[in-house]
């Protein structure tokens, strides 16, 4: 059976070159970067080399990159570390309503330590208005965090503009760029951010590797207390192989980005254009143009996402959904709800995220397989029956 993987946002295959770069550090070159002997120094060299490659991907200096174990850790590190370091200045945070759980739940955790936060709304395309961020900033605001690109609806946010407001107000700005880095050009100076989170598994690197950029001179408290690793801010023996793999993947992403983007954009746009023609009452979610090059997301009316996901899986197609049933918490996506999509429609969410090996035939296959799946589920749906009855009247 044809296998079509369209869930890039959840995972990417490891680039063979990244794997090759990692293997020696899982085998013979097992030294600890903190050891003074040659084996240790060899590992340290590889670690610093990887730091340089990751820094190169986002226009940072090497010393501004701190390795973490994933994007969620980077987000926790930024939010908690930067907020706590500014506690004497104030206790207010400004976040967008469509942040990842690792930001929203970090903020909740900070609220237990006396912080409070304002959630800035988004428009129907999931775009944050920089003016709203500006207006939400108060005298006691110590940190703003706005996602660079949403993994659920693909919308790319005007972070550079938000950065200008934050600088003018003298407030630190963090961006969760996990879904963006490696997929679209990201430059920390152009964005004007003080901190930025990224993860290797979004650009063909290994899982278990992420990083936080912290601009030189920006105060942040250590996230893991212990030894001197990562400048004492994130202690613990480094995941050398994972970091080396991330470095290699970052280097490749930098080189191949224009080519990858162009290829995937063509396929994405065909999907965005064709799917609503083949399926009645299926709506694009997120911004039609300002979106990730590999991301197409929809809400299909009258049915629920998990049913579609399971049927597609049986046909060899891997996708994801933001429906309540596919999340363990059984709640509809807060991102879709924040965009003003009603609960019933939000349940019919489908997210397609392409990878560099996605072909035109893969998209054709999806477009052939999906409409009958939707028909089948709609025939079972009391909401669809009601819609047909109402239409007859």
């Amino acid at each position: 059976m044809r296998q079509v993987y369209l869930d890039h946002i959840a995972a990417t295959p490891l680039d063979p070159q990244a794997l090759e770069a990692m293997l020696p550090f899982l085998q013979d070159k097992f030294g600890n970067p903190q050891s003074l002997h040659s084996a240790g120094q060899e590992a340290l060299g590889a670690l610093e080399d990887a730091r340089s490659r990751v820094a190169g991907l986002i226009g940072a200096e090497d010393s501004e990159v701190y390795f973490t174990s994933n994007g969620s850790e980077a987000n926790n590190f930024a939010l908690k570390g930067m907020a706590m370091a500014r506690r004497d200045k104030g206790n207010h945070l400004v976040l967008s309503a469509i942040e990842h759980q690792s930001i929203l739940h970090s903020a909740k955790s900070l609220e237990r330590s006396g912080f409070c936060s304002t959630l800035v709304p988004v428009d129907k395309n999931g775009v944050v208005d920089p003016e709203d961020v500006k207006n939400a900033i108060r005298k006691d605001t110590v940190l703003v965090s706005v996602i660079l690109a949403s993994s659920e609806v693909g919308t790319v946010e005007p972070v550079a503009e938000i950065g200008r407001f934050c600088r003018a107000a003298g407030v630190s700005l963090h961006t969760d760029a996990v879904a963006a880095v490696g997929n679209i050009p990201v430059d920390v100076r152009d964005l004007g951010v003080d901190a930025l989170s990224l993860a290797a598994d979004q650009f063909y690197g290994p899982k278990g590797s992420g990083a936080l950029f912290v601009r030189k001179g920006v105060r942040i408290l250590p996230f893991i207390d212990g030894g001197i690793q990562e400048g004492g801010r994130r202690a613990g023996t480094e995941n050398v192989a994972g970091i080396v793999g991330m470095g290699k993947a970052a280097e490749i992403a930098r080189m191949k980005m224009p080519e990858r983007q162009d290829r995937m954009k063509v396929l994405r746009d065909r999907l965005i254009e064709t799917l609503p023609k083949r399926v009645d009452r299926a709506y694009l979610t997120g911004h039609p143009e300002k979106r990730l090059p590999h991301h197409a997301s929809f809400c299909v009316e009258f049915i629920e996402g998990e049913g579609m996901l399971l049927h597609l899986d049986m046909k060899g197609i891997a996708v994801s959904s933001g429906s309540a049933c596919t999340s363990r918490a059984l709640k509809a996506s807060h991102v879709l709800l924040a965009m003003g999509i009603d609960h019933a429609l939000a349940q019919g969410s489908l997210v397609f995220s392409l990878i560099d090996r996605t072909t035109s035939e893969d998209i054709d296959y999806l477009l052939d397989v999906l409409p009958p799946v939707i028909d089948r589920l709609r025939k079972m749906s009391p909401l669809y029956t009601k819609f047909l009855e109402d239409n007859q009247k």
Binding site: F302, I303, E304, E306, G307, L310, H311, M314, S323, A324, C325, T326, R328, A329, L330, K331, A332, L337, H343, A344, Q347, K379, M380, S381, P382, L383, T385
Partner: protein, 186 residues
């Protein structure tokens, strides 16, 4: 796969899908906010379920549950059908993931609501309200919660009642887990 073969069989080949036009009883449970909604229509002959049809808006488990409930209940007397429990439904399916157990509640509830509707119609003036569908479940661990308790006895999460729909939500949440209404910050 997160589901058993039996669940997948009923999901892929659901039995008794549809709506009976001149039904003797109709039962509806759930709403799209929770992610699941089921309707059962029944035909009754000699106090037995002569025909059952269902429609479901919901996940794979919800579809499989509705299908197997209709299969188990077909031909049974109304009293027998009223004894179908959510535990039996989950067992017949070879088990359900923990966070999908509430789907088995809905299936039995929808059938029971249809039977209650039929019985109500048989006795003019008598109003028999199905208590089943009013039962509360912890939205986090799906364990049954008797009335309003401050905490779920199974997972110990602190709960409070939504003033809009009466559903239970974790204390301190901004939105009701059942109806999505904004809750006053504590």
């Amino acid at each position: 796969m997160i589901y058993t073969d039996k669940v997948m069989d009923h999901f892929q080949n659901p039995r008794n899908v549809g709506v009976i036009k001149d039904a003797d009883g109709t039962g509806k449970v759930g709403n799209p906010v929770c992610g699941d909604m089921m309707t059962f229509t029944i035909k009754v002959k000699d106090d037995k379920l002569d025909d059952i049809k269902f429609q479901t808006f919901g996940c794979g488990a919800a579809i499989a549950v509705s299908s197997i409930v209709s299969e188990i209940a077909m031909g049974k007397t109304l009293n027998e059908a009223m004894k179908i429990t959510n535990e039996l439904v989950a067992e017949e399916l070879g088990g359900l993931p923990k966070n999908k157990l509430h789907c088995s509640n809905l299936g039995a509830d929808a059938l029971h609501a249809a039977i209650a509707d039929y019985r109500k119609k048989q006795v003019p003036g008598k109003t028999e309200v199905s208590q089943e569908s009013e039962k509360c479940y912890c939205p986090y661990c799906e364990g049954p919660v008797e009335g309003l308790e401050t905490a779920c006895t199974a997972c110990h999460i602190e709960l409070e009642e939504c003033p809009h729909c009466g559903g239970l939500t974790k204390k301190g949440e901004e939105k009701c887990a059942k109806c999505g209404a904004d809750l006053e910050p504590v």
